[in-house]
């Protein structure tokens, strides 16, 4: 009969264990159904040369990272130095998708701008920022209305997609890439892709 009194205690322990596990999970991290699917094509104006359209097609034949960023995104600033290091020291090709540079900035009112003005303002902000903090990108493109980002299932910035030589999305990283995220999660996957190519 002593066992009977253990039952509430066991239930309690189970609950504690469940909570201890669940509170470590990040409910904001939504698994992407796009992993394993081809990265959707786009052609958007380049930040450095807005007359030229660029997209995933330009990176065919090599693995690369698609990094979603914006100058108003503080977490992007956090990860930027890491991206610069990856591009310069490890030679990782990174393409930037500049996400709603003007419309996404809660401190700006984009509704009064004409499309032309919005584009000019976005280019100026993006270029200034890259000049200040370093430019890790092979090229960066402007997604002014965030439509391309929706095709990639982006729900916040920064997000980074690992895309293989065939143009298939292999992994999606949500949030800034720090030293640890790169070392423990992304780098092994990256090495596998680069190694697989040879």
């Amino acid at each position: 009969m002593k066992l009977k009194y253990l039952i509430p205690f066991l239930i309690f322990v189970t609950l504690v264990a469940l909570f201890a596990y669940a509170f470590r999970l990040d409910p904001r991290e939504v698994p992407s159904p796009l992993v394993g699917k081809p990265a959707s094509a786009f052609a958007l104006p380049r930040v450095d040369a807005p007359g030229t359209l660029a997209g995933p097609a330009d990176l065919r034949g090599q693995p690369w990272l698609l990094n979603v960023w914006a100058t108003w995104c503080v977490a992007c600033r956090e990860e930027h130095a890491m991206l610069v290091r990856l591009a310069r020291e490890e030679g990782v090709p990174i393409v930037g998708l500049n996400y709603k540079e003007i419309r996404g900035d809660a401190e700006l009112d984009a509704s009064r701008l004409s499309p032309q003005e919005e584009r000019e303002a976005a280019l100026l902000r993006a270029r200034t920022w890259l000049a200040q903090h370093g430019d890790p990108y092979r090229f960066s493109v402007l997604d002014l209305d965030g439509r391309v980002a929706i095709d990639y299932g982006v729900y916040g910035v920064p997000e980074t997609f690992l895309i293989d030589a065939e143009g298939v999305i292999r992994y999606k990283h949500v949030g800034p890439i720090d030293e640890r995220a790169w070392r423990e999660v992304l780098q092994p996957k990256w090495a596998a892709l680069v190694g697989g190519k040879r």
């Binding site: 990040d26 904001r28 995104c73 809660a106 916040g156």
Partner: protein, 172 residues
């Protein structure tokens, strides 16, 4: 309400980030009233009604406990506009839903489909309820089985007098 700007949490200041998001979601409507509505309804009221109905079934990725029709998150506005545009272009509700699921996963559906990964979600409540009913049934059965201890002759006699209302129970 994005990972950048206001909640500079990233993944590191997770608790801070979650708290901020919760607060932002709870009080979102307070400041939203001052903002001009960004999601513009299209002209056709029938399309708008369909879009709103569908929007209420779709979960906002940013404020996860609101539908995209209710949320004031930027992304929710963008997604609502997508829903409107696609319905206006003659797509069916099912097609629009499939469009969003292809990008954001079953997560956007408030009613996810029944599949291996969601069995626990769908069956869980019934399993728990069944377990509760079983436990209750066992307890009740055990209780009804417990026999009343038989009265001794003396006790029975005392009970009889008490029932008849005669004699006073002497306290000693």
């Amino acid at each position: 309400m994005r990972r950048g700007k206001k909640h500079e949490s990233g993944r590191s200041g997770l608790a801070r980030g979650i708290a901020a998001v919760v607060v932002a979601c709870c009080f979102g409507f307070a400041w939203a009233a001052e903002e001009p509505p960004k999601a513009q309804p299209v002209g056709d009221p029938a399309i708008e009604a369909r879009a709103l109905k569908l929007g209420h079934e779709l979960r906002c990725l940013v404020c996860q406990n609101q539908s995209i029709a209710e949320s004031n998150a930027e992304l929710a506005h963008d997604l609502m506009n997508q829903v409107r545009e696609q319905l206006a272009a003659g797509k069916s509700e099912e097609e629009v839903r499939a469009y969003l699921v292809a990008r954001y996963g079953d997560f956007v559906l408030y009613q996810p489909p029944l599949k291996a990964s969601t069995v626990a979600l769908w069956a869980g409540p019934f399993v728990l309820a069944l377990a509760g009913v079983l436990a209750l049934w066992r307890v009740l059965r055990r209780r009804s089985r417990e026999e009343m201890p038989a009265l001794s002759a003396e006790e029975a006699a005392r009970a009889q007098t008490l029932l008849r209302g005669e004699g006073k129970e002497e306290r000693s």
